[in-house]
């Protein structure tokens, strides 16, 4: 299961995005744009016959995919297994890779499909602790902040868990994983307008349920 150190990271990103809605997101953009282009170029080279480029495809995509899978499964072994399956599916599509195609939404779509299949096979294991995260050991002076962040993450998780799956998926792909609305629409097999609507509804639900927390977060911003 997930270690305590990972717990605050689960949805704190989503929480901050909710708090800063409408503001520029330089961090998210700077993190996501470079690997995306890198993955596209590497996969293109791999499809052209450069065997060594598959390692670059892995390096560009694996951290983001693993983060996504870990957040969804809360199980390192399963996240690693699905990540491996995702990468191997991409490897098998080498001969049919379309020149100029975007790799990131494709990779996330494969990962999401394998994740859904995996969760269906292991229904009883999903959120066996009812969404509660492993509290982990006391971490000294930072314990209060960690505990507070963990509680916020848990609250966000609970609100998201009550949302329709379509809204939750759209919100998480955009806010947590840094995909663009268009990319999320591709991953979910729907339109850009539908994804915008779903993410907006999820945001409104979060805002309604966490209004007090958001006020605190916004007050604490520089």
């Amino acid at each position: 299961m997930l270690a305590a150190a990972d717990a605050p990271a689960l949805h704190s990103g989503a929480l901050m995005h909710v708090a800063s809605r409408g503001l520029p997101r330089p961090r998210g953009r700077s993190v996501s744009v470079a690997p995306r282009a890198e993955a596209d170029v590497a996969m293109e080279r791999y499809a052209e016959g450069d065997d060594a480029s598959f390692g670059l495809v892995y390096d560009a995509l694996a951290p983001r995919l693993y983060g996504y899978l870990l957040r969804q499964t809360r199980d390192r072994a399963r996240a690693e297994d699905i990540l491996q399956q995702t990468m191997l599916n991409m490897h098998r599509a080498r001969a049919s890779f379309i020149p100029g195609a975007e790799v990131t939404p494709w990779a996330f779509a494969i990962a999401r499909r394998l994740l859904v299949d995996s969760l269906r096979r292991n229904k009883r294991e999903v959120l066996s602790d009812d969404g509660e995260l492993d509290p982990g050991p006391d971490r000294g002076p930072m314990a209060d902040e960690v505990a507070q962040a963990r509680e916020l993450a848990t609250r966000v998780e609970r609100v998201l868990a009550k949302l329709p799956q379509s809204q939750r998926a759209a919100f998480e792909l955009i806010k947590n994983e840094g995909l663009s609305v268009a990319e999320a629409a591709q991953v979910l097999g729907t339109t850009v307008a539908a994804v915008k609507l779903r993410a907006h509804r999820a945001y409104e639900a979060l805002r309604g349920a966490l209004g007090d927390v958001l006020g605190t977060v916004e007050e604490g911003k520089p």
């Binding site: 951290p63 098998r92 939404p105 494709w106 499909r113």
Partner: protein, 225 residues
Amino acid sequence: MSATPPSAELRARVLAAASAEPVSPRGAGARRTTVVLVAGFMVPVAISLYLGWPSSGGRPFAYVATLAVAWLAVGLAATWGGVSRGQSMLGRSTAVRIVVATLTPAALLATSLVAALAWPQTLHDDATMGSHLVCVVFTLLCALGPLAAFAIVRRRSDPVAPRLTGAAIGAASGAWGALAIELHCGHASPTHIVLGHLLPVVMLTLVGVVIGDGVVAIRARSGSR
């Protein structure tokens, strides 16, 4: 954005697994796709040759030619929208595939009705249940080749809506089968067109849903959790 990166051991495992399962680069893949599609389309061609040279069978030649061109256009459009993936590895949009799966039989019907209205003498003929059945069987047989070829080309390629892609593939292959038999069928009444030529397209669309689930969908290989 990940709190914990995947282990180096996992990277080595993935790269080793990829090395153990060599896949040809794109050039070889394109050649293979071409061979598969040509082989698939040889099936309706071979059946057509078996049935003899295309014949109007008493229908006005202009009617047959008009319908053949219209159904050729429907087949090409359905293949473009339902089988090819455009510029995305995830294929064309869901809306395009829904249109292909649902409107292909409708487009075939609409064009046949327009042609029938343009040549009113085709509205009535002596088609029997037996002739409907013969056209159903031959349409299905002719469509099998394109259906198999499309399924092979799109095998394990759709992680989002494989059943829909399968339905679109089925509809597209049905359009090709309907075209092949239309060139030989001597009946033109709307009843025969619907029962003998369009019913198999609908059947193939439904078969495509099953193919989509079993062949087109991306699945974890056995041995994974």
